[in-house]
Every structure is written in C-alpha cells, then in structure tokens.
Amino acid sequence: MSAARPVLNALEFKGRMLTVTVLRALEADLATLIDTLDRRLGEGAEMLRGLPMLLDLEALPDAAGFDLAGLVDACRSRGLSLIGVRDTGDAALAARVRDLGLSAVALTGEGGRKPAGRSRVESETAPSPAPVQAATSLLITQPVRSGQQVYARGGDLVVVASVSPGAEVLADGNIHIYGALRGRALAGVQGNAQARIFCRSLDPELISIAGHYRLSEQVTDEERGRSVQVRLDGETLRVEPL
C-alpha cells in the first residue's frame, strides 16, 4: 500500500561547512550604500549574485536607526541572496532582522555560542598543546585512531604520528602528517583553497581541500604509499611527490 509507505527517511540532517560572503555596511546613508552596491555590481562583481551573503552592521555607529529594510530590499532586488544579518547581541536589531524573514547569525568563534573545546572534537589522545604554542595551530603527538576526529579550527594541524583508517582530521589551514595518512584528511574546510595536505605515506580514505575531494579509489597506484603534498589547482586536486 503506497499510503502505508514508511517515510522515516524523508528528511536528513547533515552538518556542512559553508563559505559565506560578508557584506559590511560602513556608511549609514541608504542612498550611498545602494549607489556603491550598484557600482560594485557594475564593475563585474557579477559572481556575487547567488552567493550566500551575510549582512554586517557592526561598523555602523547607530545600527538601531539604520534603514535595514531598505538595504535588504535593495540587495534582494539585485539578486543577492542574503541568508541573515550578523548577530551583534542587539536584541532589538535581531527582532527587526526576523521581521524581514532573515536570521541573526553569529559568526563562528564569536560570543558565547562556541562550546568549550570545540577545536578538539573527540580526540583526547594527545597531551594538551604546550602553552608556548601559537593558538592557531594544533599539535597531535599520538596516533589519530579509528573513530577519532581532530579539528584544528582557525589554523594548521600537525600530526606527529599516523592517521588510522576510520579517523578524520580537519583543519582550516594546512594538514601535516609525519606518518601515514590512512583515514580522511580535510584541509581548508572553511574554504581556504590555498590549504595543502602533507603526509609521509598517502593511503587515504578521502582527501579534501576547500570542499574539493578525492576518494580512496581515485588515488592512483603511483600516488599511493608515497610521501606527497596535495594542493588545489583550480578545481582539481593535485598530488605531488615530495
């Protein structure tokens, strides 16, 4: 009976990283803003259309008195897809944002939204990074084992061991593995196309830079087991021997 068909799988929740263009208003006068917007779009910023965009009013001295509705209308009529307005903690502004059918969005790493220890998702394998270390890189000295996930938020990840099958390492910046990469490695997860992956022996389940990925079966026999770097060339992942 088609009426009794189970619909348990009709929806799926998935976590995805998304690069967002932030549109910062530096001037409170609506006419000036629209003027500038038209000029920038006329200059060939055509690719901005359709990109998810976040409006940021933080630089405005008087965000409360600003004609938010006017700017949102102007953006929408020019084909810009606004997904929200940056949350500055101003409740009145947040209410106006919601009235316009948008969301007040906190940027990651801001305010109290970020749960403690998010940069190390599950793995507690390695001792805490030494205090002298730069806050933007994460050093792991133990093997990253199956089922563990390590994320270097905002910087590079250095693993002085191997990454096992079933393990996942992620970084906003580069990933350096001074051992074998047998699990998944995702560099530049926030969209940094310049990020690279370095490893002593390449045998991955998946490699990805800024969302461009390659699966294990797409790794050739010549590349496998070698000491390599992986970089993004346009839309293609290049695996080069070191």
């Binding site: 599950e122 793995s123 507690e124 394998t125 133990q142 093997p143 084992r145 199956s146 089922g147 563990q148 061991a161 191997s162 096992s164 099958p165 079933g166 393990a167 074998a180 047998r182």
Partner: protein
C-alpha cells in the same frame, strides 16, 4: 594494591575470554594472587572456559547490588592456587553495571589481590567501557584481519580518552597488542595481515602472537585454560606472553612456517 588489567578488542570472537583465562591462569601459576572478572553480563562465558560453570552461585551483579558479598561470589579455581573467578550474571544486561558498583568491587578486590583481569565484552558500549574504565593496563586482542585491526584501533583510542586515568589527566594506559589466531602459512600466501602490518597500523607494543591452533578449541570445550596445555603451541605462546607481561624479555615464536623435516617432505605431511 592490585594492578587492574583489561582484556579488550572491540570486535567479538577474537579470543578475549580465552586470553583472559590464559593470562589469569598464567599469572596465578607464577605465584601472583589473581582474580578474573567476566564483564560480559548477559552472555556469560568465562565460567565455561575456566571450567567452573557448575559452581556458580552468586555473580558480579549480585555483588554490585549488595545481594552477596565478594567472598560468596568468588569461585576458587581447583587446579591453580591463588586464582579466583568472578562470573557474570546471565540473566541481567549491561545496565546492571554501575560505575560506583564496579569501582567498589574493584577496590575491595584490590586489597586482597595482585592482579585483577577484566574480561571485556565486545563492542564499545557500557559493558566494554566499564571493564576498561578503572584499568591500569590493557591487553588488546586482535586477529590478523582488517576489521579486527580497525576495531582494536578504535578501542585504543577509547582507552586513551575514556578511562579514569585519561579523565584525571594521568598518563594513559599502555595498551599492548596480543595477536591471536595467527597462521604464518596464510600470511605467506598473502591471505592474512602479517605481525608487522598490524603493528604498523596500531603502533603499540607487542605482547605476544598466539598461533591458530586446534588446542584452543579443545581447551575451551574441556573447560581448561589453554595455557595449561603445555604441549601445545598456543599454550606455550600464552606462557611467553605472561612472562613478557611480567617483564621478562622473550623472543617471539610461531611467526614463521615451520620447516618440514625429511620425513615430512617425503610424505607431504
């Protein structure tokens, strides 16, 4: 204070209970007072392997719930002095293992024993976590095949993050690898991972390699820990492993295909 050792693997059927029985027996034979606890509540097997299934009155869960004291529940082994078995309950499930209860039982045993061997159930759920939580050392039992190796890797990760030692920021448990059901001739034919392959992936010390052996099944069915079958290769390999566990340096045996003698070659034996 006793040393608490968890025997674990992630995957089922790789030889955790066989190993727990063998190691516990070996330690007791070496003169250490040893208790071995079955954490596989609901799927009790250790009593069968140890051959004491007819003498189970009270079990681990009874002690946790205070229905019996340890003295009533511990079963003394008839063959080896200083060896005691604490069986699991067959009628309950893993939820009966409370952290406070397990801690209390282990504390009480610690006062009286040198070694406590915790025979972990398969999986990474409550039973396995409880068996590992209070451990000072871990023996990770692995078969030379990819799924077992991956599961062992997962367990090693859990040992380094979800035990009391890890939570208190102490040095994490030194997990040691025990490779079981090893068949050198299949390794030579490329059908099985080699010791070196497994060691490279898991990156832990090797406690021992137990060869695939008919002696293991017969010992299980007879209710005699295989380490007591001193004629068998598996029994000798377990004795080596116990000696290494106690700090002795012994070379690994049974890693290569034994060379056939003249008669064997003539008759194809």
């Amino acid at each position: 204070m006793a040393k608490i050792v968890v025997v674990t693997s992630g995957k089922g059927g790789v030889g955790k209970t066989t190993t727990s029985a063998a190691i516990a027996t070996g330690l007791a034979q070496a003169g250490h007072r040893t208790a071995v606890i079955d954490f596989d509540v609901g799927l009790r097997n250790l009593d069968l392997i140890m051959g004491c299934e007819r003498r189970v009155v009270y079990d681990f869960v009874n002690v946790i719930h205070g229905d019996a004291n340890l003295k009533q529940a511990l079963i003394k082994d008839k063959r080896v002095d200083d060896l005691y078995i604490l069986p699991a309950s067959q009628t309950r499930d893993k939820d009966a293992l409370t952290q406070e209860g397990v801690e209390r039982v282990l504390q009480e045993l610690s006062a009286d024993f040198d070694y406590i061997i915790c025979d972990s159930p398969a999986g990474i759920e409550r039973g396995a976590l409880m068996a590992a939580y209070f451990a000072d050392e871990a023996i990770v039992v692995t078969n030379p095949e990819v799924s077992s190796v991956r599961d062992s890797d997962r367990i090693l990760g859990i040992l380094s993050s979800k035990t009391r030692r890890a939570e208190q920021g102490e040095p994490t448990i030194p997990g040691r690898l025990l490779l079981t059901r090893y068949a050198p001739e299949r390794v030579e034919r490329g059908e099985m991972l080699s010791v070196d392959d497994v060691r490279e992936i898991l990156a832990v010390d090797l406690l021992g390699v137990i060869p695939e052996s008919k002696a293991v099944l017969s010992a299980s069915n007879a209710g005699v820990p295989v380490i007591m079958d001193v004629e068998s290769d598996a029994g000798q390999a377990y004795q080596d492993a116990v000696a290494r566990f106690l700090g002795e340096d012994r070379p690994h045996r049974f890693l290569t295909v034994p060379k056939k003698g003249l008669l064997g070659r003539l008759f194809g034996g």
